[in-house]
Amino acid sequence: MLSTGYSIHSPLRYKLAPFLLMLILIVCLPSMAHADFGVNLPEGVTPISNKIYGLHMTIFWVCVAIGVVVFSVMIYSMIFHRKSKGAVAANFHESTAIELVWTLVPLAILIMIAVPATRVLIDLENTDEAEMTVKITGYQWKWQYEYLDEKISFFSNLAKGAREATRDAEKRGSIDHYLLNVDKRLVLPINKRIRFLMTSNDVIHSWWVRDLGVKQDANPGFINDSWATITKPGIYRGQCAELCGKDHGFMPIVVEAKTQEDYDVWIKEQKAIAAAAAAAGDREWTKDELMVKGQEVYSTSCAACHGVTGQGVPGAFPAMAGSKVVTGDVKEHIKTVMDGRAGTAMQAFKGQLDDAAMAAVITYERNAFGNNTGDLVQPATIKAAR
């Protein structure tokens, strides 16, 4: 021969052991899938989530079966068809029959998977015959829920304290459901076919609650839909699933499913709260009242971008402290908060805050962070400006 070439022979144990380790890992996987420590999908509480779970397990097992066959053949030949064991290479290198078999068999397996998958898909996409409708609007970085039949509407923000807990390990351990808790839950009745309409106010978001088997993109300017019939009362948590900017990781979803009776009580409460809020806008507020309420509104609606201390994020989000708008003309300030700034991340808060909340937050901004303008904005001023 022309060259002696380069070839090495080290002990087999040392070469193959980790491959075997990996095989063991793969074989162990199915058993882990049944264990209950957060390594697998939950079955969920809607017909759709159950079906998705079934489908998921079917494909999983098919993959495991194929994997075991392919890897076994590979490992067998790695152990027995080694030069160091005196194996002499065969010379076969073609077989149309075999090629046909391993084209057609996988094809048949795929068709077997595709049939149930298609069935689930058809069920999933059928949003007809809904008994109630909830419109979900994504905002940077919160969700708005509108009960179209009940005329109830509210925002759902990351729960209080979570933002501070991002920098404080002790708080993280003590607060309820760190990053998966909100200030106001989406309350839904069980055993009712609910249709969700998803849209967005700014960028693309995606509303995802695993236990409901619902994940649907919320696109600005378009409406998508999805549905669920929740079978068990309980609290189900989810998160935004589409990268939507800085605080994408901080816009959780909490659904509370109640029996019809409890749900009806809740609806009544919500209507009373709305009426009280409207009344609050009709009276004169003191500065202290406005400042307390204003700080609360600021921390849920403004702090994500402009910072808890009003420092902003240079180059991305302007600071509140010493800002020209905040320390300048009150009318300009009100207009900015109400209508937002076109072409920037500054949203229009007209539809998000009622008269009292908006008056309070503007008063707060004009008097906090060292902006001691002394200005007071009353709900009546906001009402007039709308």
Partner: protein, 552 residues
């Protein structure tokens, strides 16, 4: 058999003569200008590979920032906005700066050697297409230092987050993408021209080594896909600066249109990064199994069908955008169809190993790890392709695990395999086999510790691209980060092994570095002289060196 061997010997002698002759007359320039002005395919291949390696380290450093922040819950090291810049640039740099240039580097070195051509068909354009890259890469990285920070909208840069809501630096990002696209298209044209026009006269298409075949098909994918990306970023540029509303519903546009255009580029792009990997593995496995590649022609057809299918499955990335049910069904069926030709490839590799006479040199170990781990990535890919199940997987860590299995243990592992396989031929020195084996096990174990738990995280409900997470995800994130740091550290060892090989490696004299390797590249002297195949190899030599005709 005997006559064939002596023919090869004569051929090698001839080449050795010619090589010495050429060096004597017009050797390369000395110093930096050699690399700036070079039109030699081997020099340019080297440049591409070093550039890719540096970018791999830069992108890897960003991955370390990501894993460090995710080591435990809470915000410890970076702000969410910077975290998003890291995930975005990590993706962009790995795709456009590391994996793609590395494969183009391998193509530059190997394709002329494997088809018996003296150089690439368009040597000056070759120089240009490389030298665009460092500038594009530098521009992309410079965005990190601009006011408002770099791109923070993910490597998929969905509108309107990347248009209306993006930092000012986005325009630099757009220009960098345009330049990277120019470079890729020129590289692809060069590869097609070389393969179709510069093959040794005796080499028919179906005589070509599989690495050459997979690159030929990949080059067509590049030419078809990159202009679509250029279109997408140009539309972004218009929306941002010239008042158009391609992706803005308020002006009659549609943000989902962006995703259609992006993925019409993006899905073929995925195959651009994996088809050459298939080629590499198809070269290595027969060598160390001492057996011809099983099903050569079916491998070629499978590659071509994967390439064609890659253009008609793009919307499986978009099952949740509100697509009509008929669209979802079509894209689901088309997507799972891809597993048929991909399965054929895996079966062919396994059958090539079957009843071979195997040895486990370092390149072979990487190739075997590729087959196993890529297959795992293929399984999760099949699961993701099932539209109704995708509801629960989409945009979670399950997806992150999936594409890292196919791109890290797939594409990247094949590049490392290729470097260990051909490095002795390139520099005439053998790597430290013991260190390389340690490095292999270190990398292959840590990479699984890094990415395997991410399947669990995704199924347990952790969305991707978040800087902080709920407490129930803590354990797996910590395990994943530990694997990540170990995998990251393995690249220091890899750097040492490569530099040590080039400087102090044991000299290799044999033309055929691996005793059972087949292919024209093993008929030229070691180290490969600057100029090879001044005279085309004969048909007899080509047939004798074919890894799939059964002349083993």
């Amino acid at each position: 058999m005997a006559t064939t061997t002596s023919d090869i010997q004569t051929e090698i002698d001839k080449h050795d003569d010619h090589a010495g002759h050429d060096d004597h007359h017009h050797g390369p320039e000395k110093g930096l200008m050699r690399w700036v002005k070079t039109t030699n395919h081997k020099d340019i291949g080297t440049l591409y590979l070093w550039f890719a390696f540096i970018m791999l380290l830069v992108g890897g450093a960003m991955a370390m920032v990501i894993r460090a922040e995710l080591f435990q819950p809470g915000l410890q090291l970076v702000e969410p906005q910077f975290f998003n810049q890291m995930t975005t640039l990590h993706g962009l740099i790995m795709v456009f700066g590391a994996i793609m240039p590395a494969f183009v580097g391998l193509a530059n070195w190997q394709i002329p050697l494997m088809v018996g051509a003296p150089d690439m068909a368009l040597p000056r354009m070759n120089n240009w297409s490389f030298w665009i890259l460092p500038f594009a890469g530098a521009m992309l990285l410079s965005t990190l230092f601009m006011q408002g920070g770099g791109p923070a909208f993910g490597w998929t840069f969905y509108a309107p987050l990347s248009t209306t809501f993006a930092p000012d630096s986005t325009d630099f990002f757009i220009f960098a993408i345009h330049m990277l696209g120019f470079s890729s298209i020129m590289g692809a044209i060069n590869i097609i021209a070389t393969i179709l026009n510069m093959r040794a006269p005796g080499m028919r298409l179906m005589d070509m080594p599989l690495f050459v075949w997979t690159w030929l098909i990949t080059a067509f994918l590049l030419i078809a896909a990159m202009p679509v990306l250029a279109g997408a970023v140009t539309m972004m540029l218009m929306d941002r600066n010239f008042g158009t509303s391609f992706f803005d519903a308020a002006g009659g546009g549609d943000p989902v249109l962006f995703q259609h255009i992006f993925w019409f580029f993006g899905h073929p792009e995925v195959y651009i990064m994996i088809l050459p990997a298939f080629g590499v593995v198809s070269q290595i496995i027969p060598t160390f199994a001492r057996k011809p590649l099983f099903g050569y022609s079916s491998m070629v057809y499978a590659t071509a069908s994967i390439a064609l299918l890659s253009f008609v499955v793009w919307a499986h990335h978009m099952f949740l955008t509100g697509m009509p049910i008929a669209g979802q069904m079509y894209f689901m069926y088309a997507t799972i169809m891809i597993s048929v030709p991909t399965g054929v490839k895996v079966f062919n590799w396994v059958t090539t190993m079957w009843r071979g006479s195997m040895t486990f040199e370092v390149p072979m170990m990487w190739a075997i790890a590729f087959v196993m781990l890529f297959t795992i990535g293929g399984f999760s890919g099949l699961m993701l392709g099932i539209a109704p199940a995708d509801i629960q997987y989409h945009d979670t860590y399950f997806v992150v695990a999936h594409f890292h299995y196919v791109l890290v243990t797939g594409a990247l592992f094949s590049i490392i395999a290729a470097v260990f396989y051909w490095l002795p031929k390139w520099c005439g020195r053998m790597f430290n086999e013991k260190l390389a084996t340690i490095h292999f096990w270190w990398a292959v174990i840590s990479v699984n510790v890094l990415f395997f738990p991410q399947h669990f995280l995704g199924l347990a409900g952790m969305p991707r691209r978040i800087p902080d997470y709920a407490l129930q995800f803590s354990d797996f994130n910590m395990i994943s980060s530990i694997g990540g740091f170990a995998f990251g550290a393995s690249f220091f060892l890899l750097t040492y092994i490569i530099v040590d090989t080039i400087r102090n490696g044991k000299p290799v004299k044999e033309a055929r570095v691996w005793e059972s390797a087949k292919g024209l590249e093993w008929t030229v002297a070691t180290p490969a002289p600057l100029h090879t195949f001044d005279e085309a190899p004969t048909r007899e030599l080509i047939l004798a060196e074919s890894s799939h005709t059964g002349s083993h």
